[in-house]
């Protein structure tokens, strides 16, 4: 078990910059999620930690050792791959035993440890099967068991749930969380799924274009986004972004409607971010702004209203029993608590 420290890490392929001079401290026992859209450099960062990719520049420390020049096998990390990377010609037992065997673990020790790991992921009955005869979820468990069978210093997980169907993903997510709390091993987890990140992480590092945009607890990332990108990336439905300006202590939409009071100095160009949950729906004329319903959706546990004024569309979450028709006019109110202002040019948050 160990901390992982990245110092000014850079990876380039020719002119293309995959990871751009990034530093990050991951504490011992911490569950850190690297979150971002595809091509943001999160997987590259993880692969450099595993030793599968050589950094162009910068240092990687695991515990108190700089591992830049160590081969993957000498870094004492365990990795779960997106496509699992199971050995198709070996049984489940041999798959799980492989890391022990190549490290020269005494024969007598292998079987009990494989059985223990298999037990932790509920695979005991399948040990004699080959990967081909397993379902996606079972393969996922074999990959997990292979990672936990030895005690690595760091777990690396590269989109481990992305090949599972939606239902199984939720189950496996809970199992992963349970397992990680139980094992208390430093874990770095790569995903593009913000729900996975929110539910699993102690801290999330949001990446874009090879740059870490923000590092923080799920709570901080969700409630205190540092940039337009983070604000738009986290949350479902995505945060509404409304263009406008700040005049006399009020946010005014591009169309000229005075929307809500904000506590920042006047500024011509700003973007107001507000989540679907942080707005209220009322009858026409009762709220801050009237808008026409563009689409009304019913999700079961709530309703989603897409409303439009001018060219601006905004999604608002409504009560479960609310019933409206497309084309009706409703009024929207914004609470003053959860409003976020951003500079549209730099993408940075404007704080009051």
């Amino acid at each position: 078990m160990a901390s992982v420290i990245l110092k000014n890490l850079t990876k380039c392929w020719g002119d293309f910059i995959g990871v751009d001079n990034q530093s990050l401290d991951i504490q011992d026992h911490e569950f850190l999620v690297l979150l971002g859209p595809s091509g943001c450099g999160k997987t590259t960062t993880m692969r450099m930690i595993a030793g599968l990719e050589d950094p162009t520049d910068g240092e990687i420390w695991i515990g108190d050792r700089m591992v830049n020049d160590d081969l993957p096998k000498d870094r004492h990390v365990a990795m779960v791959f997106q496509n699992y990377g199971l050995y198709p010609h070996m049984t489940v037992f041999d798959n799980i035993a492989y890391p022990l065997r190549v490290r020269g673990t005494p024969k007598g020790e292998i079987e009990p440890r494989v059985k223990k790991a298999a037990g932790q992921v509920e695979l005991i009955e399948l040990l004699h099967r080959k990967p081909k005869a397993l379902s996606g979820g079972q393969r996922q468990r074999v990959a997990l068991a292979r990672a936990i069978v030895r005690t690595p210093r760091v777990f690396l997980m590269d989109e481990p749930l992305s090949n599972l169907d939606a239902k199984l993903r939720v189950t496996m997510r809970a199992e992963l969380k349970h397992l990680s709390r139980e094992l208390k091993i430093t874990t770095i987890y790569v995903t593009h799924d913000q729900i996975e990140a929110m539910t699993l992480a102690d801290r999330i590092a949001v990446m874009k274009d090879g740059i870490i945009q923000q590092v923080g607890t799920p709570d901080e990332i969700y409630n205190d986004p540092a940039s337009l990108f983070v604000a738009g990336f986290i949350g479902s439905p995505a945060m509404n972004l409304i263009n406008g300006s700040v005049q006399d202590g009020y946010f005014v939409t591009t169309g000229g409607t005075k929307l809500v009071a904000v506590s920042v100095p006047d500024k011509p160009d700003v973007v107001l971010g507000v989540r679907a949950d942080d707005m209220r729906i009322s009858e026409e004329g009762e709220g801050d702004i009237d808008a026409r319903i563009y689409a009304f959706e019913h999700t079961g546990e709530a309703t989603l209203l897409t409303v439009q004024w001018g060219t601006q569309r905004v999604i608002v979450r409504g009560a479960r029993h609310l019933r409206k028709e497309q084309g009706e006019i409703v009024s929207i109110s914004l609470g003053s608590d959860h409003l976020y202002l951003f500079n549209p040019d730099t993408g940075k948050r404007i704080r009051g």
């Binding site: 993957p72 365990a78 990795m79 791959f81 492989y98 190549v102």
Partner: protein, 275 residues
């Protein structure tokens, strides 16, 4: 006519055309098979029914034909060619498949292009050199030149198979604690085994059927089966019953091998160009 009737008629025409094709494709082969079991006299009549005899298969192994020696030469040459080509090609194919190499594309293109050079061009210098160093009419000499036609096929085919092995699996093994050599031995070779077998069989067939090199380089001791076909000429003309028996000995093993790898046969010949 209804749509259904039209469909049925078109189906029937298709079946007839396919049957004609099979007939044309198989008749020469069947004709040889029949001739091989005919006696000298039956061959000269277009007989469909005759009393089969195994006599021809005995005769071809006797003097003056000694087909046994040619069979032995063909077997040895094809085996040794494959035994040399496959390991060397596998090493290269793995490297080409997995690593960025300086000049990789150029190397692969050149390897592919050598495949297409006319065999007569390649054989002239070899003939001159072999004459000087005494490798004419030897099996070793034949193996060496056979490598020229077999290696490009083997490299490209095996590279195709290794490309198909998910890289995840290898990386998992490396993180699990294997060195690169161990990865190749424990993971890549077992997973590529069917592909290596296929490539091996494919190269065996090529080496076995090879004609021009053997025609030019051998005359007595190292003569292979295809060249042996030229033996069955007598003053009164070709000895078709013996030729056919020899033909069966040449083609039957190849038919069996080709059927074993039939799934990959086409892929092998076009070397990944058509997928």
């Amino acid at each position: 006519m209804t749509g259904k009737q039209k469909k049925q008629i078109s189906q029937a025409i298709q079946i007839v055309l396919i049957l004609i094709t099979i007939f044309v494709m198989l008749v020469p082969i069947l004709w040889i098979f029949m001739a091989a079991f005919k006696n000298h006299i039956d061959v000269f009549q277009l007989k469909l029914f005759f009393t089969p005899t195994l006599e021809n298969f005995g005769t071809v192994f006797e003097a003056p034909y000694h087909l046994g020696m040619k069979l032995w030469n063909s077997t040895i040459v094809a085996f040794v060619t494959v035994a040399l080509a496959i390991p060397i090609a596998t090493m290269a194919a793995y490297s080409f498949s997995r690593f960025r190499l300086r000049g990789k594309t150029a190397m692969l293109v050149v390897i592919l292009a050598t495949q297409f050079m006319p065999a007569v061009v390649i054989i002239l210098p070899f003939f001159v050199m072999f004459r000087d160093v005494g490798l004419l009419d030897t099996r070793i000499g034949l193996v060496l030149v056979n490598l020229a036609i077999v290696m490009p096929f083997a490299i490209w085919m095996i590279k195709g198979f290794i490309d198909g092995i998910p890289i995840d699996t290898e990386e998992a093994a490396m993180v699990d604690g294997s060195s690169r050599i161990m990865v190749i031995r424990n993971i890549v070779l077992p997973m590529a085994a069917p592909g290596l077998l296929t490539a091996g069989i494919f190269c065996f067939i090529i080496a076995w059927n090879e004609f021009l090199f053997a025609l030019i380089l051998t005359n007595k001791d190292a003569v292979t089966l295809p060249i042996g076909l030229a033996l069955f000429k007598a003053e009164e003309g070709d000895l078709w019953n013996l030729l056919s028996a020899a033909g069966i000995i040449i083609m039957l093993p190849m038919f069996i091998l080709a059927l074993i790898i039939r799934k990959y046969f086409v892929q092998g010949m076009t070397m990944g160009a058509v997928r």
